[in-house]
């Protein structure tokens, strides 16, 4: 080996604990999803039946194809439900542990907030806030690094999309004040 081996080490102090109790079992989520999809199948099936599932002079009516698809979907869901029901005595595996869920929410909640802010403040300001805030409060990275990164990223995105490629993003009062 020509050059000495160097190690790259990245720590994750906030990693989810291994022994955290499960919030839900995989099977219960599986059953819940199957029931939801079954309801979806029923809703879409009904809507397509209303549109018309028969045949007319121009071949099958618009509801024909999706109606039978919702039947297939319902059938597959029932099959899955029956399967899980038969296996209900066997031990379940965890779907997500409490500390895992906490971490997922740490990224999901800011993402929802970002989408709401995009509507009011425009995408660039919202992305500045998301990146800066996430790095600071979730990642516990030094203030100045967060500010520089967030500002640089928002600026690069603005130049790439709005200026160079003419792809227009939602804008808010800040951009209006800048005159863009």
């Amino acid at each position: 080996m020509a050059n000495p081996e160097k190690e790259i080490v990245v720590e994750d102090p906030a990693a989810p604990a291994e022994d955290s109790p499960p919030v839900a079992g995989r099977r219960s989520v599986d059953v819940a999803v199957s029931l939801l999809l079954l309801a979806l199948a029923a809703l879409l099936g009904w809507d397509n039946w209303r549109t018309g599932i028969g045949w007319d002079a121009a071949g099958p009516k618009p509801g024909y194809f999706p109606f039978y698809l919702s039947t297939i979907l319902a059938g597959a869901c029932l099959w899955g439900l029956a399967k899980e029901l038969r296996a209900r005595r066997q031990p379940d595996e965890p779907f997500v542990s409490r500390s895992q869920l906490r971490r997922v929410m740490q990224v999901f909640v800011p993402t929802v907030a970002f989408c709401v802010l995009t509507q009011w403040l425009g995408l660039y300001v919202a992305s500045f806030l998301l990146i800066g805030g996430f790095m600071r409060f979730i990642g516990r990275i030094a203030w100045w690094k967060c500010l520089v990164t967030a500002l640089a990223f928002a600026a690069v995105m603005f130049v790439t999309f709005d200026v160079a490629f003419d792809v227009i993003m939602p804008k808010g009062p800040f951009e209006a004040w800048l005159g863009r």
Binding site: E5, V9, V10, P66, F134
Partner: protein
């Protein structure tokens, strides 16, 4: 043969402009980034960066996107070997021998082997595309709606019959995809369906928005669940190492050829790169004289899965180009891109858009050569990318996803839809509902339905039209056989005396 060669030269002519070459480099570098970063992969990388290409001409756009794809394929190997973290599912098999090699201080050799064999795998697949795709396309020009519907049916059925997931889950994923594809204006009658009076749903569920949510947002959530600490080796590749590995390579030609063939085959049939890489590895192990040395840092254990993964990743573009049917998730996204740029995927592409098709094929050759040079020279830089904390990367990926989703139709509604698909993708992945059939169904749904209805109109509602001639009849029959393949193979093995499992199949 010589005609394809002439057209290929023409393709290089289309490609060799400064602008296209620059886009190629940008695409490759972005792709390697995407492949290395946790929480991003080939399909979502391509989906997120797709909006960048909306204002380009189709040829430049596809060249850049396909280069992102090659880059992601190369990038996946870096993290598998240096960190024992497969950046992509198809690099899992590369970790078996790649990481032990890195631990023994042979990281540079392992990386060179991985990159070179990836290159060879793609090259074989591109040669296949060059000489086979035009023939298939011109054959498919004779297809009418029944034939096309039969081919779509074959694609869907082979997913259900041959996929490794539970059958009813594949079926759920596919039917939800097909249903969502039908939301909005019906293309044949102009009537609205499944919109429930919502003006936003009038446009339908955009395929790319769904993909960005399913693969981008959900992947971030899944990554957050895991422990993100990592420990690995830094490595630089010297020219001497490269030459040494290349000199050794011809000894393993059997492995390389075997893996290329497996890869090409699995790439064309919707099965994908993941199965190919495992199968390549397992077969190399099976045919080796000293099986015990596998998993302990044997260079052949890197050659075999990487060749197969790249061959299948590349050959997945063959059915997309020739028939308009993608062989993998990423190919499905590229197909979605074709429609955005105003091209109609299918066999007519070879006739109507020669520039586009041959530019793309030529870029596959050039992109792989340039990609090989880039990864060999810049490995230390990309390995260092992993030092960037995930807390900085995650919000940037979220923002990129939102930009991508919004840019497709300039609709805020699409950002919310992306979020919904993010949650759906997260839950589906965790309970084992595969996402690839959904992607494929959503992108092909409308065309499959149109083909079905046109054939019905043509035949006056007689289902026997799908057996009306030898060609369409055999495709339809094959589709049905594949759909019930698990039952058929169970019945056949039940009839035969029990035979010990020889472990040839992919795990």
């Amino acid at each position: 043969m010589s005609e394809a060669f002439g057209l290929l030269l023409y393709g290089f002519g289309v490609l060799l402009t400064w602008k296209t070459l620059a886009l190629m480099m940008v695409g490759l570098v972005l792709g390697i980034f995407v492949g290395v970063l946790p929480g991003l992969g080939g399909p979502n990388g391509v989906a997120i960066l797709l909006p960048l290409t909306f204002t380009m001409d189709p040829t430049s756009a596809i060249v850049m996107l396909s280069c992102i794809y090659w880059g992601a394929l190369f990038g996946g190997a870096i993290t598998s070997i240096l960190f024992n973290i497969p950046g992509e599912a198809w690099s899992v098999a590369t970790t078996f021998d790649g990481y032990p090699m890195a631990q023994q201080g042979k990281a540079a050799e392992a990386l060179t082997a991985a990159f070179t064999s990836s290159f060879i795998g793609s090259l074989v697949a591109v040669l296949l595309i060059t000489f086979l795709a035009p023939g298939i396309a011109s054959f498919a020009l004779r297809f009418g709606p029944p034939e096309f519907f039969a081919v779509y049916l074959l694609t869907f059925c082979s997913f259900v019959g041959l996929g490794r997931e539970e059958k009813h889950k594949t079926l759920i994923s596919m039917s939800v995809g097909l249903l969502l594809a039908g939301v909005g204006m019906d293309t044949v009658s102009g009537q609205l369906r499944m919109t429930f009076g919502s003006a936003e749903l009038l446009r339908g569920v955009n395929f790319l928005v769904a993909v960005i949510g399913l693969f981008g947002i959900s992947e971030i959530m899944l990554t957050m669940e895991e422990r993100l600490a990592l420990r690995g080796h830094a490595a630089a590749i010297s020219l001497r190492t490269v030459l040494r590995v290349w000199k050794e390579m011809p000894r393993y030609w059997v492995t390389l050829v075997r893996s290329s063939v497996i890869g090409c085959w699995l790439g064309i049939t919707p099965g994908g790169a993941i199965a190919a890489s495992f199968m390549g590895y397992n077969l190399a192990k099976r045919f080796a004289k000293d099986k015990e040395s596998f998993g302990k840092g044997r260079i052949e254990g890197v050659f075999a899965p990487e060749t197969a993964a790249h061959a299948s990743g590349t050959s997945a573009l063959l059915p997309m180009l020739a028939l308009g049917i993608p062989g993998s998730g990423t190919a499905a996204i590229l197909l979605g891109g074709l429609m955005v740029w105003g091209l109609n995927p299918g066999p007519l592409l070879f006739v109507e858009h020669k520039n586009f098709v041959w530019g793309l094929i030529a870029s596959m050759y050039l992109g792989n050569v340039v990609g090989l040079v880039i990864v060999l020279t810049t490995v230390p830089f990309f390995a260092a990318v992993l030092r960037v904390p995930f807390a900085a990367i995650a919000p940037m990926i979220v923002v990129s996803c939102a930009i991508g989703a919004f840019a497709i139709q300039n609709a805020m509604f699409d950002i919310w839809l992306m979020l919904v698909f993010g949650v759906v993708g997260y839950v589906f992945k965790k309970i084992g509902i595969p996402l690839a059939p959904f992607t494929l169904a959503l992108v092909l749904g409308n065309r499959a339905e149109d083909a079905f209805r046109l054939s019905m109109i043509g035949a006056g509602g007689d289902l026997r039209v799908f057996w009306s001639n030898g060609l369409v009849g055999s495709i339809t029959t094959l589709a049905i056989v594949l759909l019930f393949w698990p039952l058929i193979s169970a019945a056949v093995s039940g009839l035969r005396p029990a035979k010990p499992d020889r472990g040839l199949s992919a795990p």
